[in-house]
Amino acid sequence: MTTPHGAGSAEYAVLAEGLVKRYGDKHALDGFDLAVRRGTVHGLLGPNGAGKTTAVRILATLVRLDGGRATVAGHDVVREPGRVRRGIGLVGQYAAVDEILTGRQNLEMFGRLFHLGTRRARRRADELLERFGLTDAGDKQLKTYSGGMRRRLDLAAGMILAPDVLFLDEPTTGLDPRSRNEVWEAVRSLVAGGTTVLLTTQYLDEADKLADRITVLDRGVRIADDTPAGLKGSIGGDRVEVVLRDAADIPTAVRVLATVADGAEPHTDPEERRVHAPVTDRVAALTEVARTLQDEGVGVEDIGLRRPTLDEVFLHLTGHRADRDGTEGATGGNERNGRTGEHEKTEKKETAA
């Protein structure tokens, strides 16, 4: 009909406009927009309960939407779910593979269900095992696989038809760093093969490493959409940061940093004895601050140039930090924890429903 759909579908692998999904009185999605360019990795970030999983489930035709519309791989998710399913792969939060079967038997089963026929399903299973470095483990039962191997098999199962769009819903949650690297490697190779990836994740460094563009979602609506660099730039550029040995020196440090600061007032964090200020002439500012502090006899524990991290962007945009399986840092008090708990509950309901 109108511009983005139709004409835009050549450029965008996923296009969603005004998605609404209600669970009772709760709006899991409240007019959510998303545009994912073909052949890119697009990160979908948001606090627990923001609606990420709901959005993915709608786009993967698993859940009906209550309003808005979405095109995935060139087809409308409501009117042509069958065609959408032929163009997508879904790798959810759990490795959705059969534990008792071998890796090869799993891939063959999924190949048959994709209607490849016995012989092609078998050939495809071999190809995918090789591609994901699982040839040696192909005839072993899945329960003997490590977490990383299982995830890679899960990815392979999502790739039977070389989908236009692959949905990765928290693909590395609960994996050790080595396994995470294996999964990242696999994702990069898929994208090199032309697949578009929509990635939801709790790990901001993961989004930073993999995503070409990031959409931040909170309370069912899009609150930001930019490249990782753009998002970081939106909350300021480089800055000089000083960690003091003694909190009593904070006023001195503030005075020194103010001389090099780029307009804005230096920011202090007394608990961590940290002072920082945005700068433009990075190296000159750093040298100047280091020298002056030394001249004034201020004890410095750490000094350096820092760029905003995605964590900070996230904190700035959503008012709280990204949760990482409950192991997040010491910031924030009861109020935030209470709120997170509430979000978790909604997310659970979301997945259950």
Partner: protein, 279 residues
Amino acid sequence: MSAAPDTTPAPVLPDGDGRRLYWAVADCWTIVRRDLLHLVKQPSIVAWQLGFPIVSVLLFVYVFGSAMDVGTADYEAYALPGMFTMTMAFGFMNTAMAVVIDKDRGVTDRFRSMPMSPSAVVTGRGVSDVLHAALDLVVLVLIALAVGWRSDGGVLATLWAFVLLLLLRSALIWVGVFLGLLVPNQEAAGNLFAVAFPFGMISSVFTPPSMMPDWLGAIAMWNPVSSTADAIRELFGNPVASGGSWIEENAALMAVVWPLVITAVFLPLAVRRFQRLSR
């Protein structure tokens, strides 16, 4: 790990009804195949599932058997057809567990996100459960023969008895699918045993309802499990121990009617529950 672009084209799904039916059957078979592979990979599954009826046979025939007086000479001739029926009745637990495991692990979601025939998820489950039940019966009958049980009915009567057993099991597939989709997780599915146990036991499986207190006997008589148990006893020529009530006298009819009623109630419930997954 190579980054070679992948160009396997997706086969085009046919729109014609004939092809659709073909894929419904082919996909169903793929799911059945998966369950058969489970049996090959893990024969211990069958052993575990049969453990309870086998132990019950031994307990009832050798431990309680001498104390059981159901008005006939040999208790095992009464108890063993009951055991066959009880194994079928408890079968819905296996269906529910398989459904809940797939749902929990996201396998069901993966199937639903694929261009396969949507009905195959359920029909595949049903067909493999019936095959599984047939296998259970073969093992149970061998054990029964070993402890001295015999069918005195004709070949056709004996075969019809096994058909009736599988009919009960087939009807309970829908109960299992419904409950498997209803319960939140595997632990809860395990607790279904609290429902299954009285459903299997308060029946004519081990004792004639006429020997129970009146109110309990009435419940036991009208339990679908009793109708199947009584019907197959008659077909096997084993002692029936009927109390003479209408429901007991018409067991042969009710062994067909009950499964149909159960299916009529639970098939739509299961389908509705399945559709609710997309809410």
